[in-house]
């Protein structure tokens, strides 16, 4: 039931995205607005030629996956905070109100601005105490993908989800992309059965998110066949994430430091995004289908997983099972032949509360058995409101099938 309602929710969100995409695309011809899947863009007011934004630092309850709620900190009710979008040459005024229980600041990661606007607590400004509002105002003298995050009690505030995109479009873009996505990479330590990320963690993170969502809570990425797609990846977590996309070859066109000259762009299918950096990639999907889009660190594409379990691979547990079942009648051993059955197991054996199973997702053929930094790049000939919620319709004879090696294997 939960599953159904989530699908419906995803559907509605995607339909909205689809129409927003089309309408925004026509309203401002200079650039294609950024889509932050599972997120939003921060609105602004023009006041005397200045774009005025208002960020509110506050506690946020975020549904990472259906039924899995996490007590985060973020901006304007979200983590990552809403994407700030502007154009090179704009003057921006950003009001920051602190509704957190402790002081904060905002640092504009990668931006050239007056030193006093850099947002480093103690070094370049006073801290914004709870209840106070501070003003940041500067001209945007560059373009590219940047980040904003606190430069005050960073270990806690960033671990709890305080981060956001700051996208500056070039004044005159050399070309226009069809879809422009922004995906914030993050990782969390949320012990099983709890809802608060542990900011003390340095290792042993157990959730890995795209825009503070874990699969199957992550929205699919939509692309029309032969369109130009841009994805901006930002990372403020403690590790790097090699993001791999099936079915396409892409080039890294920019970092948070600026554009990469075309001559230096090489084709690849995986981009490593180290902490503190942005990697912008562009590609033209030529092949329709449902293509995985995920971090290539295997454990990052899984939900909560304990790493100190006894290794049961290849262990005959038949006799022990019988003995343990005397004490635990419902006991089922796991891990002898791998963890492939884990998803089935978790569906009828309840785990701790507020804890998604390690592997999730139902595909058109079977369980998808993934989690964490995983979503699907849905490439279609034409995008329709249904594209997000329907599986790819494979042309006949193009799906791998079971064969009889004697009959068909020749």
């Amino acid at each position: 039931m939960k599953h159904k309602s989530t699908l419906l929710l995803i559907k509605i969100v995607l339909v909205l995205i689809f129409f927003t995409l089309n309408s925004l695309g026509t309203s401002n011809p200079s650039y294609t607005p950024v889509i932050t899947p599972d997120g939003s863009t921060l609105p602004y007011k023009m006041v005397d030629g200045v774009k005025v934004f208002h960020l509110i630092a506050e506690r946020v309850k975020r549904e990472f996956a259906p039924g899995f709620f996490v007590d985060c900190w973020g901006y304007n009710g979200q983590t990552p905070g809403p994407t700030i979008e502007a154009v090179e040459g704009d003057r921006v005024r950003i009001l920051v109100t602190n509704k957190l229980p402790e002081h904060t600041t905002i640092h504009w990661h990668g931006l050239f601005l007056p030193n006093g606007m850099d947002g480093v607590g103690g070094l370049t400004q006073r801290y914004i105490d709870p209840g106070e509002t501070y003003l940041y105002e500067f001209d945007l003298v560059q373009h590219g993908t940047f980040m904003y995050h606190p430069h005050a009690d960073e270990a806690v505030q960033m671990a709890l989800g305080m981060e956001g995109f700051f996208v500056i479009h070039p004044k005159t873009p050399p070309y226009k992309v069809d879809h422009d996505y922004a995906v914030f990479l993050h990782m969390w330590q949320i012990p099983p059965g709890t809802s608060k990320p542990n900011p003390n963690a340095m290792f042993d993170f157990n959730y890995f998110s795209f825009n503070s969502r874990v699969y199957p809570g992550t929205a699919p990425v939509l692309a029309r066949e032969n369109s130009l797609i841009r994805v901006r990846f930002a990372n403020l977590s403690m590790e790097s994430h090699p993001i791999h996309i099936h079915g396409v070859s892409f080039k890294v066109t920019a970092t948070e430091g600026g554009d990469i000259p075309e001559s230096a762009q090489r084709p690849t299918t995986t981009v490593n995004v180290p902490p503190g950096t942005v990697k912008t990639i562009e590609f033209v999907p030529e092949y329709s289908g449902d293509w995985p889009f995920h971090c290539h660190k295997a454990h990052h594409a899984m939900n909560a997983m304990e790493h100190n379990l006894p290794n049961m691979i290849g262990v005959n547990q038949t006799n022990a099972d019988k003995k343990i079942q005397k004490l635990f009648p419902n006991y089922m051993s796991m891990g002898t032949n791998g963890m492939g059955d884990m998803q089935d197991h978790s569906e009828h054996m309840p785990g701790p509360k507020n804890t998604p199973p390690m592997m999730m997702g139902k595909g058109p053929f079977a369980n998808i058995s993934m989690g964490g930094m995983f979503t699907v790049l849905k490439v279609r000939k034409e995008l329709t409101p249904d594209s997000a919620s329907t599986w790819y319709d494979h042309p006949p004879g193009t799906v791998s099938r079971k064969v009889d090696i004697e009959e068909d294997g020749k």
């Binding site: 099983p192 059965g193 909560a304 997983m305 304990e306 379990l309 006894p310 290794n311 049961m312 691979i313 290849g314 262990v315 005959n316 547990q317 006799n319 022990a320 003995k323 343990i324 005397k326 004490l327 635990f328 419902n330 006991y331 051993s333 796991m334 963890m339 884990m342 197991h345 978790s346 054996m349 309840p350 785990g351 701790p352 509360k353 804890t355 199973p357 390690m358």
Partner: protein, 486 residues
Amino acid sequence: MNPLKRKILNYFIIISLVIVSGCKTYRYEADLMNVKSDAMMRLSAADDMDFLTSHPNDDNEVNSIIGKILENELTLNSAIQLTVLNNPELQASFEKLGIQKAELMQAAILPNPNVHIDRMESHSGRFLPHARQYAQIHWSVSIDLLDLLSKPNLAKISRAQVEIAKMRLTNQLLDKINDVSKAVHNFLYEKKHLNLLEEIFEGSEAKLELAIEQHKAGNISDLDLVEQEMEYQNDKLNVNGQQYKTLVAREKLNRLMGLWGTMTEWVMHSEFPRVKEINLTRSELITSAIERNLEIAAASYEINVYKRQHSMNKAMIIPSFEFGVSREKEDGHDPTSGRSVAFELPIFDHNQSETNRLSAMIQKQEKEIRAISINLRSQLKLLHALYTGLRKKLTYYENAVLPIRKKYLSLSERHYNGMFIGPYELLDVKRSELEAQQDYDRILRDYLNAASDLNHALAGGYAGGSGMFTGDVKTSNVRREKDSGH
């Protein structure tokens, strides 16, 4: 003496003899019934203990009742029934009541008169066939008059002593009931403990099994395997040790219930009995326990007896005064008759040592009563504290500790399902749940034993001079070997 008077005197003597001999047989079953129903009343036992007031006629009936009881699972109640019916010491004491009663009644029986008959023959002219022979017959009957006069008093004393014996027997019966109750609680605890240790052992067997297979598969080191083997061995030894403890507890019950041979193959209902809460303040407890204490009652009864003996003793300056009639008949002569009087002259022994002894006994008993009440008060204070403390602990275990352990277990199962803990950890959680259960069982046993001791005290039982009421300290029996004043 005229013939009529003589005749009356003769009949009196004959009737006295008949009465005396008729009184020699009597039954003590009624007294035994008294003892048992007194015990039942004192324990405020419900109807399910009415077996206390029944008394089987013979051994066959006893055996068939025992057989019937042993067909079913034993309960606390049926164990008490078996003990009352079949505990060898108790049966011996029941019989001893008969002996005691006979002994005591003896003192109250009228003294037998002394009858003296002799016949004398003359032997002169024995070798002469025609010589004249003659014979002389003399008989006399005498009775100790002082003895006779003191009989009503002695009878009172005897009745009092029978009552004292019954009190002591009731005390012993209550003691045995308390003993067997605690032995049942203890057996149940040891048995449950054994089952828990066996379950814990099953867990370590499973862990070792897993470790062996992990080792075979190359997933754990020799060191890891040896650690698991050590745990397995320890748990196995624990089970063995507990098997013996269970046997010890079982044999204690067998002894108390007087069982042997195939009769010892009984099975006991595995749950602890439920008992009514005893809601008495400490002072209420002390007041009613002292008031009803059988040992204090018996001792004060004894004081009365000694006092009576003492005053009698003082009154009797002459230790004995015999009065009798005699008659003599000689061949060829009229019979002659006469009276006789015989008494001791209290020149050296005028019974002063017996009088002193009795005064000392009175003093001694008074001091003993004081000692008993002081001991009892102190022990009851401790017992009350123990009982209320254990009841609180038990409630805490029932309402808090055990539910939390259950929750710990079920949450751990969920964490196992989510693969956040492995089978070893899951089995360790089970172990900690079983260990908490084991603690609870021990507290429950101690609580039931304290309740049993409390009921014992409230029924008038006594725990001896040095012992605490509860725990494994054996409550001593009544001072059966005490000087009874004779």
